[in-house]
Structures are given as C-alpha cells and as structure tokens.
C-alpha cells in the first residue's frame, strides 16, 4: 500500500515538474504550431539558406503577411498575388492544402546573391503534392532576403464563349407508378481489358471499362480475388483510380490494389463493373497536349492539359493507361492537378511510372476527369 502511494506521489510530482519545464522553456516549434507566434522558429537570415528556411516556416504557419514582408521583390506584386500564387487563383486542391514540409538546397552562392532550390511538400485532401521553386536570394546589408518567383497565371481576355454541349438529366420511376412499370435502364458498360500483375506490395488488377451506351454512366469496378478452392481472399474497389463519369463510348482505365496478396494464391478473379445513370454534361472538353513518355531513369509521362471550355475546372485528375507493344495494359497511374484549369490555359502534368515497367511501355492513353464547383472562389 505504501509503495503504491509513493509511486502515485512520484508520478504526480514528475508531472508537475515536466509541465513547469514545458511552460517555462517551451519547444519553439510547439509554441508556433500551437498558435503562440513563430518568432522563436525563425532564425536570423544571416545566410541564404536561413532566409529560405524562414520563408518556408512562415508559409507553413500560413503567416502570409510576414512571409510577404520578408521578400526582397515584394514591390513587384501584391500580398494578394503572393497568396494566390501559393493557394491558387481559383478554388483548387491548393486552396485547402497545408504545407507539410519543405526542403532547402543551395545551388550557387556569391557575396551578394545566391540560388537556392526549395521543394515544398503540400498535403491535400487527395494526398500530397510537390511544388519546386528555384529562388534567387539577395543580400540586403547583413541579411539575406528571397526574391519570390511569382508564377503569374495567364488570363483569357474577357469574352463570351457559347457552350451548347449536351446535358443529360434522369427521371426515375416513382412510388406511385404501376407495378411492372420499368425504370430507366442502367447504362450498359463493359470491361474491355483486364490484367492482373504481381507487385512488391501485393497484387494489382487493372484494365479498361467502356460505356457502350448512349447515356452517361457513373461507373466503378470491384474485384474479388478467389482462392483455388473458390473462397474469397480479398475484395477491393477502384476507388478514385478510375474516371467515374463516362460519356457514351468513353473508355476509362482502372486499377485496384490488393496489398499483401500474392497472385500465386489466386485461383480466379471475379470482376464486378457497376454502372448507374447519372446526370451529366458533355462539357468541359480537356485537350491533353504534348504527351511524352520519358524513359527511365525518372520514367514518367508528361504533357499539358488545356481546358477548351469557357469556365474554370477546379480539380482535374489525370489517369494514364500504359500499353506494351502488343497493346496489353501494363500499368495505370494517375495524378491530381493541384491548380485549377483556367480556360484555354495549358497546365503541366507529370505521371511517374514504376522504373521496372518503363522498359515495357510502348504507348499510353490519357483521360481526364474533372470536378467543377458552381461558384469558384
């Protein structure tokens, strides 16, 4: 009993002591991220790297005014433009993204200026994305300050773009209808290609699905791996690795991951394409320009998206199907575009490809799914 009481007292005393230490000598980052100011996180901008570090910290803390004030070329643009450069000019993935971390890499330095690469890693609702800026840092007295390379977003001249693409609306049967009254038929979709492969992290099932119908379809694909005795091993869906809204005769790739499953355990695969009629519009049309497959090392497909419509596309998801020389699907990969697609303004994309598959790839096919809000910021 006495031992227990002594232990309790010791824990209580230790807790009080630690709380007191934490209060009197707090960790600077803890204070900053708790909203207690960021001065302690910022060092003296006595070197180019320190100046970029300070800028990164302020961006991470969303201390936009302080970050803007610290710039040496702030006279060239407004704080609003600086903010829009980082968070997007229109509602996009950037708008609600937070800077998760950043890397600073000195490239070149002289007595009065320096070149520093800054890699910003943002966290968004669909996963992380990177933003790399090459910064010119200049010396002002005994301090260094960053010349921010503002990316000016192109704006299309004011004009009226008539849009008269089709729009489909759906009226389903109601509860008051007679028994036997048929409902509108679900769109007819078909899996036109399916290919399972073994990867280091598990099995992968990929392929393509076609909307054979004359109506738009909301599609998804579910795959169930069955053991040789017919028992189910795992069942997974394509989630966002598919373009869900398919217009008539449109094809989308899909890829389904089964982490930790080896294909040697699998006797058969049950594929379940799901399609639902959905209200949709044939607009916007996105042109995928200058697609180029870049072989290993750093295998990727790059290109630009060009929004051919007259309104802003807030979120775009690029999906690419990679084929071998026989036309067999060898990989499916995708990338979200962190910036909104302004009308007629190309935006770069880069989809990485696993190095071990790069040598097999002979061609690729890219589709873009888009999300547009009624009112952009």
């Amino acid at each position: 009993m006495n031992k227990g009481r002594s232990l309790a007292i010791a824990i209580a005393v230790a807790t009080v002591v630690l709380v007191a230490i934490g209060t009197i000598w707090p960790v600077p980052s803890a204070v900053a991220y708790a909203g207690g100011g960021n001065e302690n996180l910022l060092g003296s901008a006595s070197t180019p790297e320190a100046a970029v570090q300070n800028l990164g910290t302020q961006i991470r803390l969303q201390a936009w005014s302080k970050a803007y004030t610290s710039l040496s070329n702030k006279a060239e643009f407004t704080e609003e433009e600086f903010l829009r450069d980082l968070t997007g000019y229109a509602l996009s993935l950037r708008t609600y993204a937070t800077l998760d971390s950043f890397e600073v890499q000195p490239l070149h330095q002289s007595a009065n200026d320096a070149e520093v690469a800054m890699k910003l890693r943002w966290s968004s609702v669909v996963g992380p994305f990177e933003d790399k800026r090459d910064l010119h840092v200049v010396k002002n007295g005994d301090r260094w300050a960053v010349n921010w390379p503002l990316v000016h977003e192109q704006h299309v001249p004011p004009q009226v773009i008539p849009v008269n693409y089709l729009r489909w609306d759906v009226i389903y049967s109601g509860s008051g209808d007679d028994w036997g009254t048929q409902d509108v038929e679900a769109p007819h979709v078909r899996i036109v290609d399916m290919h399972p492969v073994n990867r280091a992290d598990g099995a992968v099932v990929m392929g393509e699905i076609l909307n054979e119908d004359v109506m738009p379809a909301f599609v998804s694909v579910r795959a169930t791996l069955l053991a040789k005795d017919g028992s189910p091993i795992d069942s997974e869906g394509s989630f966002d690795m598919i373009s869900h809204t398919l217009l008539p005769k449109q094809v989308t790739p899909f890829i389904i991951h089964f982490p930790g499953v080896d294909l040697s355990q699998v006797g058969s695969i049950h594929m379940e394409p799901i399609s639902v009629l959905v209200s949709a519009t044939a607009d916007p049309v996105i042109e995928i320009q200058n697609q180029k497959f870049n072989p290993a090392p750093g295998a990727s497909v790059t290109g630009q998206l060009s929004n051919q419509s007259g309104h802003t596309v807030n979120v775009a998801h690029v999906l690419s199907t990679f084929y071998d020389k026989n036309g067999q699907v060898v990989w499916v990969a995708g990338q979200y575009i962190d910036r909104a697609l302004q009308p007629q303004t190309p935006v770069d994309f880069r989809i990485p490809v696993p190095e071990d598959l790069a040598g097999k790839i002979s061609s690729q096919r890219i589709v873009v799914s888009t999300y547009t809000t009624a009112s952009s910021l």
């Binding site: 036997g180 048929q182 890219i366």
Partner: protein
Amino acid sequence: MRFRHASVLAGLAFAFAAPMALAQGGSMSLPRTVTAGAAFSIPTTGSGKATLYIVGPGQALRRDVQMGEAATFPVGELYNAGHYLAILVGASSTDTDEFDVIPVARPETLGFLAKPSRLPVGLHNGISGAVYVFDAYHNLITAPMPVSFELSVSPGTVQSRTVTTRHGMAWTGMDSAPKEGVAKFVARAGEASSTRVIEEVPGDPCAIVISARPNAGKLEVQTAPVRDCGGNAIPDGTIVTFTETSNGRQTTVDVPLKQGIARVDMPAYKGSKISAASGVVAGNEIRWEGER
C-alpha cells in the same frame, strides 16, 4: 403461401376448439366455386344460432347465422381468389367444408414487364415482354386467354404477336427495329391494356471518317457525320477520341459529338498523324504535311 397455411391452421384450430359434444343436424351446403367479388349464399340446416367462419388466403370472414337459414355474402365481400375453408360452429355441432374462389374471367389490369427500356437497333429477340393478367380484385387470372403484344416504332412499322396465357402469364420476344426511335410496346388482354416505352438507339459507329484543315495556326479536325451501320445518326454527346502523334509526342482529346459531328482544334505539326476512335471503333488516319 405461408399466409395460406396459417389461415388453414387457424380454421382448423377454430374447428377443434369448438365444443365436441354437439347436437346433430346442423350443416351447411357450400357452392364448389365462387367468383371473386360475386354475391353468394350458404344455406344451413338445423336449428339454433351458429357462427360461420370462412378462412382463406388473405381473407377471413365471420358471420353469426341462424341455423336453417342461408348466410348471404354481398358483392365484393369475398374477393381474394384461392382455396377456402368454411367452418360452421353451432352450440352443439360443427360442420366444415371447402370451396374455391376463382378470379373474375374479365381482365381488368395487366402487369406488364418489358425489358430492356433501351437497346440498340436491329437486335433479334432483343426485347422481352411478360404479362400477368389480373382481374378487378388483383387476382391472377389463371384460365388461358389470348394476350396480344404490339411493338410499333412509327406508323407502318408494327410487330405483333398473340400469345395464350399459361398459369396467368404470357411472354414474348420482339426484335428491335432497324431504325432508331421510341417504340410503343402495348400488351392487350380483353379490354385491358398496358403500354411501355422502349428506346431503340443507334448501335456502334460503322465508320469514322476525319478530315483536317488549317485554322488560325492550328489544325481543325472534324469527323464526317457519324452513323451506325444501319444509317442511324450516332447520338450527340457520344465521345470521339482524336489522337495526334508527332515526333514522339502525342495530343489526345475526347470530344463529344455535336449535331452529328465531332470537331476539335489540334496543334498543326508538320508530318503529324491524326486518327479518331469511338469506343472500340477506330476511324481513318490522316497525315498532315502542312499547307500546300
């Protein structure tokens, strides 16, 4: 079926729960069949008061009767078709008997299942129609009767079949017409009819032919009007994928048909190859050698 068993069991329970020591002479005389919803009566013999129970699928009736008189049931009182059990429980006697309630011979409504609601043109037996014939009380009329099916896309293009029902149901298959359109699929039995709408839509594009011309520094590529192999125009909104390949670079764009054709501006690279496809149907390929 479960309800019918329950009803019969309930009837039997009534019968066995009645007093066993019964006076003699109490009985009833049941018709073998009663038409659903029709008036009928059940004469009884004997004397004294009794209770008549009629138990069947979906219905159970109770009547206090004077033995020796007829228990009458007005129009619409007993309307669910099926096999019924009648139990007459008197003060000292119980009589049980069975009879059938049969559907009214005249069809009143049709349950018409037509599938699919949308299909491509030119499909043999692509449309199925199944009819269940019901009387005014929603009883399935099991007696054979002719049902006519008629599928019409436009005046003059009519397919019709007459099928006799078996166990209350008739089924037929129909071909979709070679021309697109909205078809009326009508089923008739007696005076009753039911209509469904079948959308007959164009099939896959038969051929995609593209052409290109320079336009303000770009290449305007467009298809000829896209039709299926029956000459039907492919619906607007159908996606045509244009692909331009030049020096290892590729530009693709999915363009919906508008007024029967798909049109897009693509980069004007000399020596580029441009092709188009829709679904699994590929079109011709053209090579752009620049303006001449």
